[in-house]
Amino acid sequence: MPSATTLLPDRPRADDDTLADRAAFVRTETIRLIELAKVGHYSSVFSAAEIFAALYYGVMRTDPTDPGWQDRDRFLMGKGHAAVGLFPILADLGYFPSDVLDGYTRLGSPLGDHPDMTKVPGIDFSSGSIGHALSNGLGMALGGRMAGRDFSVFVMLGDGEMQEGQVWEAALAGAHHRLGKLVAIVDRNGFQLDGSVDDVVGIEPLADKWQAFGWEVHEVDGHDAGAVRDLLLALAERPAEAAPSCVIARTRKGKGVRYMEEEPGWHLGYLTPADAAAAVAEIRAGLSGTGARA
C-alpha cells in the first residue's frame, strides 16, 4: 500500500488577509491579461476569485516543482472560460515563469481562454466543453481511491453548467460510488451568456436537487475567502467513502468592479486601457464591498 499519506505536506491555510490580497491579485492580473487579448471573461473570473485564492493558498496540497505529483489535490474547472484568473496563481506559485503570462493568447502561447493540461503545468484537466468536468473529477476520485491515495478533487462548475445533462450523470455516479473526496463547487453568480440563469433555463431549487442526488450540500458566501477556505478544508478531510459534497458558493458576477456588478450580463467584454486602470484602482481600494448576491 502507498505510504504517501503519512508524508504529505501540511495544507497551506493562508490567513484571511492573504486570501483577500490574492483574490485582488487575481482580478488585477485578469484585467492586465485581457488587455493583451482584447477580449475576455472578466466577470466570470471576478465571481470566482476568492474561491481560486482559497483553494490554492488555503486548502490544496500541491507541489509546483512536481506538477504531476500523484498525491496532489486536484482542481478542475467546468467553467473553463475563467482560466485567465487561474493562470496568474499558477505563475505566482511557481508552476511556470511569470513572463509566460505576458504572452497570453499570442501565437504559440500555452495560455488561452480555457485551461489546457497538455500545455500548462499545474492544470489538472483541460476544459472548454461545458459539462464534462464533474465526470473527469469523478474518474480522478475513483482512480485515487482505487490506488489507495488520499487526495481530494475539487470541481468548479458554473451555475449555467447545471443545464448540461452530463453533470447529473456524474452527480448520480458520485453518490452511488460514495466518493467522499469529490467536492463540486458551484459558482452561483446567477448569470450566463444569454442572461440570467433564471431566465435562460432555471435551475432552482439547486440545493434540493444536489441533496436529492445524494450529495452533502453546503452553502457559503463565495466572496468570504476565509469561510470558503474553512469549509473546503473541512470537506478535504472527508473520508474516502462518504457522500460527495456540493458547495453552492453565492457570488456576484463581476464582483469587485461596480459597473460590472451592476450590469451582471457583462459576461464577455473588453475594457479600454483607461477603464481598465480605473477598475484596477477600484479593486485595489476594495470599493465595491457589496458581498455575495442575495
Binding site: 484537466f125 465526470s135 474518474g139 476520485a141 450523470e169
Partner: protein
C-alpha cells in the same frame, strides 16, 4: 382478478428460454475479458467499465474475476468516457465499453476533448459494430463510427476480425501510447485466426496476393472476404485479401503495394462508404496513383434496414456470395 403470487409459477414448457446473456457467463463472449485478464497478468493497471452492458460485451467475466478493477457506470455513456479520462490521469489504464453506435456518436465530443486532445491512454471498446445488431434497428447500427473516430486527431482506430485477434490487439495495446478506439463486433464472429495470433498496430495482415483484384476488408468482413476469395479463385481469378485491422494509422505502404499489384482494389466494410475504410484507402490511392481502380463496398450512405443480422448481411451483399458478386461486377 386473481391475486398475483398466490400460486406457484407454472414451469416453462420446452422451448422457452432465458436470454443466455443475462446473469450467465457466455464463453463465446470472453475474448474481451480474456484480453484484459492477460493485461492484468502482465502488470497493467487495468480498470474496466461499462454502461449497463457487461453481459452483452462479455466484460462480466473480468468483472467477476477482478471486481475491484471493474466500474459499472449505468446508462451514462458520456459520463463513463469523461470519467475514464479522469481515471487515466491517476495512472490507471481504463478500458470502457458500450455499443459502438453510442460510444462513437453519443460520446464523440467527450472522446475528442477528454481522451484524444488530452492524449490520455484510454481504451474505448465499441462493440456490436455495423449492422450486427440486426433487428434492434437503426439506433443500434454503427455505420458511422469509423468515420467519426478516424477524424479525431491522435486517436488510433482498430477493427479486429475475430476474438483471437481482439485478444491479441488488447495485449498489444500495453505498449501503444495513444488512445485507442477498438471497433469490435458481437464477440461470436466466425474465427479467422488461431488463438496464438499476434497483433501489430498499424500493420495490415496480407492473407494472399492477387493480380486481378485485392479485397481489403476489416472487422467482421474479413471472414466472408476470405470465403469469397476462395470462390473467385475457383473461377480462375487471381485474388488477394488484406485484413486492414488497423484503420488508423493506416498501413499506407500495404495499400500502395496492393494497388500497384492488382488491377482492381475492392474495400469491404459494414459501414457507410463515406469516411470509412474505403475512404481511407481511396485517400492513399488518390495521392499515389498506380493505375488500379478502386471499388468501395459497404453501406452506400443510407440507414440500414431492420432484419436479423444474417438477412442484413445478405441484403447488403456483405456475406461471402455478396462480396464475390461485387468483385465480379468490378472486374466485368
Amino acid at each position: 382478478m386473481s391475486a398475483v403470487g398466490t400460486a406457484p409459477a407454472a414451469p416453462l414448457s420446452d422451448g422457452s428460454w432465458q436470454y443466455r446473456g443475462l446473469n450467465a457467463l457466455n464463453p463465446g463472449l470472453d475474448h474481451l475479458s480474456d484480453g484484459l485478464l492477460d493485461l492484468v497478468d502482465a502488470g497493467v493497471p487495468v480498470i474496466a467499465g461499462t454502461a449497463d452492458l457487461q453481459y452483452s460485451n462479455g466484460l462480466v467475466k473480468f468483472a467477476r474475476t477482478h471486481p475491484d478493477r471493474f466500474l459499472q457506470f449505468g446508462i451514462s455513456e458520456q459520463n463513463m468516457v469523461s470519467a475514464a479520462a479522469g481515471l487515466a490521469t491517476t495512472g490507471a489504464s481504463p478500458f470502457v465499453a458500450t455499443f459502438a453506435s453510442f460510444l462513437a456518436l453519443l460520446c464523440c465530443e467527450q472522446i475528442r476533448m477528454d481522451v484524444a486532445y488530452t492524449k490520455l491512454p484510454v481504451r474505448l471498446i465499441g462493440h456490436h459494430t455495423g449492422i450486427s445488431l440486426g433487428f434492434y434497428g437503426t439506433s443500434h447500427h454503427a455505420t458511422e463510427d469509423i468515420s467519426t473516430m478516424r477524424a479525431i486527431a491522435g486517436l488510433t482506430v482498430v477493427s479486429p476480425a475475430d476474438g483471437p485477434q481482439l485478444r491479441a490487439a488488447i495485449r498489444a495495446s500495453a505498449s501503444w501510447p495513444e488512445p485507442i478506439y477498438f471497433r469490435i463486433s458481437r464477440g461470436r464472429d466466425p474465427q479467422v485466426y488461431d488463438p496464438e495470433v499476434e497483433f501489430e498496430f498499424g500493420r495490415g495482415v496480407e492473407h494472399s496476393q492477387g493480380t486481378d483484384v485485392t479485397i481489403i476488408a476489416c472487422g467482421t468482413q474479413v471472414h466472408p472476404a476470405l470465403e469469397a476469395a476462395d470462390a473467385l479463385r475457383a473461377e480462375g481469378l487471381s485474388v488477394g485479401v488484406v485484413d486492414m485491422s488497423t484503420i488508423k494509422p493506416l498501413d499506407e505502404d500495404l495499400v500502395r503495394a496492393v494497388s500497384a499489384r492488382s488491377a482492381v482494389v475492392v474495400t469491404v466494410e459494414e459501414h457507410n462508404v463515406l469516411g470509412g475504410l474505403g475512404a481511407a484507402v481511396a485517400e492513399v490511392m488518390a495521392e499515389t496513383p498506380t493505375g488500379s481502380r478502386l471499388v468501395r463496398h459497404g453501406i452506400r450512405d443510407e440507414y440500414s434496414l431492420i432484419a436479423p443480422p444474417t438477412h442484413l448481411y445478405a441484403h447488403y451483399r456483405l456475406d461471402a456470395p455478396g462480396i464475390a458478386a461485387v468483385v465480379r461486377e468490378a472486374l466485368a
